[in-house]
């Protein structure tokens, strides 16, 4: 029999039992729908995390001080106080492929303005930090390298500081008291929001790193970290190696007291959770797809038994075993593919509902749709084959006699 007429015969058989066909396909519909919805939700969460990580800046490598051991007591990362501004200069001069370097000194001080006070995080940086972190100003201007060189008392402030201390006024040109020193506000940063770890990135005052080092609190000689921007993502790994060997060299073979981290590691940690979630949700959905397939096999077996006589008639009037096999295989595949199609629609619908009602980020994944559809077709073939073969192997004489 020709393929087209087989398809027509199969479609007619399904239409004759509309209710049963729908119920049979329901397993696949729910399975595929679940796969699409789960993967969409998982992807949405992942892309949100990735966006947050990206907001930290592009191709960033950070050098932190390492641990120290004093009299056998190990101090943990950051306890070493040997990372210096000179290390940063050496990196900037000697390591190729670097776009920008910023020396960072972190602190916390009480700030005062307009008779209000607040305790933001204080960051001492080079002016390049705004380019590295892709963080434009909305008003005023950034301090310059000259301000850094002479440790001028100037700063730029984040949105949260404006909200807390200036109550909607334009703070540019005003004076902010940081700890014990008055500092002139040169500019206001655009809003960046919370980072992945939940801290408010806008709750910050950025000063020249030298100002923080020399004028704020107890003067210090070390810096908190070095922020480096690589020219491209491929350069991150070689630059890390270069930095490590350069800094080791500068320490004359002493135990390394620094560590070099890049953003990819951070991104990986951050997305690992949502990846696990996506895999888990996908696996659960996959199981329901399998159950749907078994449902199809079950109904196809019932259908073959029920239609033994029909098969006998077809064989008697000249159908080959293959014609019968194809007919039942077609039915199974048609069921599973129609189920898959409806499932995709259901999955997209469910994702939209989740996106709209729960305000979760949802990203409908095209590969997931293609995979779900082809998997459901394969389920049809896999679970339809055994019943179809059973039908094709029937002896026409026995089949015709079947009551």
């Amino acid at each position: 029999m020709r393929l087209t007429s087989t398809a027509v015969v199969a479609a007619r058989a399904l239409k004759r039992n509309t209710m049963r066909s729908i119920l049979t396909a329901l397993g696949i519909i729910i399975g595929v729908g679940a796969v699409i919805a789960m993967v969409s939700i998982g992807n949405g969460a992942k892309s949100q995390v990735e966006a947050q990580v990206a907001s930290l800046g592009q191709n960033i490598i950070t050098v932190f001080p390492g641990s120290t051991t004093t009299g056998g007591v190990r101090g943990g990362f950051g306890s070493s106080s040997t990372l210096t501004a000179d290390d940063a200069d050496a990196i900037a001069q000697e390591v190729p492929g670097i776009v920008a370097v910023s020396r960072s000194v972190r602190s916390r001080e009480q700030v005062l303005a307009n008779g209000q006070n607040w305790r933001p995080s204080i960051a001492g940086e080079d002016p390049e930090i705004l380019d590295i972190r892709v963080w434009p100003l909305i008003s005023g201007e950034m301090f310059t390298a000259r301000d850094v060189a002479s440790a001028n008392k100037v700063c730029v402030i984040g949105q949260t500081i404006v909200d807390q201390l200036f109550d909607g006024e334009d703070p540019v040109g005003k004076t902010l008291r940081v700890g014990r020193i008055p500092v002139k506000i040169l500019g206001v940063l655009s809003k960046k929001g919370f980072n992945y770890f939940g801290s408010d990135q806008d709750d910050t005052v950025i000063l020249p790193y030298s100002t923080v080092m020399r004028r704020l609190g107890r003067p210090r000689t070390n810096i908190s970290s070095i922020t480096i921007q690589a020219a491209s993502p491929e350069l991150i790994a070689p630059i890390k190696l270069e930095i490590e060997s350069l800094l080791s060299q500068r320490r004359n073979g002493r135990e390394p007291d620094f560590m070099v981290r890049d953003q990819l590691e951070l991104a990986e940690t951050a997305t690992a959770t949502s990846k696990t979630m996506t895999v888990l949700l996908g696996a659960i959905a996959g199981v329901s797809l399998l159950v749907g397939g078994i449902g199809i096999m079950n109904i196809m077996l019932v259908s073959v038994t029920e239609r033994t006589r029909e098969i006998g008639i077809r064989l008697a009037v000249g159908a080959h075993g293959n014609d019968v096999l194809l007919q039942f295989l077609f039915e199974a595949v048609l069921l599973s593919v129609l189920g898959g199609g409806l499932g995709v629609a259901l999955g997209i619908g469910a994702s939209e509902i989740v996106a709209n009602t729960l305000n979760w980020p949802v990203l409908i994944s095209m590969p997931a749709i293609v995979i779900a559809l082809s998997v459901s077709a394969m389920i049809g073939i896999f679970f339809g084959f055994y019943p179809a073969r059973k039908a094709a192997m029937l002896d026409p004489i026995d089949a015709l006699r079947y009551e």
Binding site: M1, V317, H320, L400
Partner: protein
């Protein structure tokens, strides 16, 4: 004389039923010419159904030779036999064996779906309608079997058996499920088809039915014991007329 359409030469069929060998057909030789109308008779267990299955290429003989329309079909494989059934044979069964919830027309189209050469849907429809017309049911083409009487269902089955213009029409107890009047009507259809030149072989255990055929073959214990020509063959019309008359008389005596 032209070669016979059906030629059986010492055909035997042995089944293995557990430990016991059942010799259902033990050596049947018979020739059937084109245009014959043969009744195959015998008690149950005589081997007539087995022989019918062999004649219908549904089964293969254990030994012996079966030549159908010049082709030795005794050793063909499953698919080749399916093609022979499709092209050279037409089947009419006791239980009609129509596809339920499928129109009469689609039932008649069924054998054409499995034809070796491609038949366009339009031609299928035309041929099916013509076949239904031959059995007088072209006005019932859209009816489902459940909407038809037993006699009508059997006529649809006959139309289906005719649609591929077979060499031989095989009928297995075609009147077994019908009342006496409908039986005569269906036999009338067979007689008419035979008169137009179609070879018919029919299994029956009813003598009344066998009377309508031209030749009776009687099987007993797997052997052909009698082969006789039917004398004074009644036509279905005269029998029907007689039945109608008897009915009328019965109605008169009742009142």
């Amino acid at each position: 004389m032209s070669p016979p359409v059906v030629s059986l030469d010492s055909v035997t069929k042995t089944y293995q039923s557990g430990e016991i060998e059942v010799r259902a057909v033990r050596g049947v030789s018979v020739d059937i010419q084109a245009g014959e109308f043969v009744a195959l008779m015998g008690a149950s267990g005589s081997g007539k159904s087995t022989l019918m299955n062999i004649l219908g290429c549904l089964d293969r003989p254990t030994a012996g030779k079966y030549v159908l329309d010049g082709v030795d079909v005794s050793s063909l494989d499953r698919n080749a036999r399916a093609d022979i059934r499709n092209q050279k044979l037409g089947f009419v069964f006791q239980g009609f064996n129509l596809l339920s919830r499928t129109t009469a027309l689609e039932n008649v189209e069924l054998p054409m779906l499995y034809s070796a050469e491609r038949i366009r849907p339009k031609e299928m429809r035309e041929r099916a309608l013509r076949a239904l017309d031959i059995v007088g049911l072209s006005d019932r083409a859209d009816h489902h079997p459940s909407q038809l009487s037993g006699g009508q269902q059997q006529r649809v089955a006959i139309a289906r058996s005719l649609v591929n213009q077979p060499q031989v029409l095989l009928a297995d107890e075609p009147t077994g499920n019908l009342d006496s009047k409908t039986t005569v009507e269906v036999m009338g259809v067979f007689q008419r088809l035979n008169a137009e030149g179609i070879t018919i072989i029919m299994v029956t255990h009813e003598l009344d039915v066998a009377q309508f055929c031209k030749r009776n073959l009687i099987l007993r214990d797997g052997l052909l014991v009698r082969d006789e020509k039917v004398e004074n063959r009644p036509t279905a019309e005269t029998v029907l007329a007689r039945l109608a008359l008897a009915e009328k008389e019965a109605a008169l005596t009742e009142s």
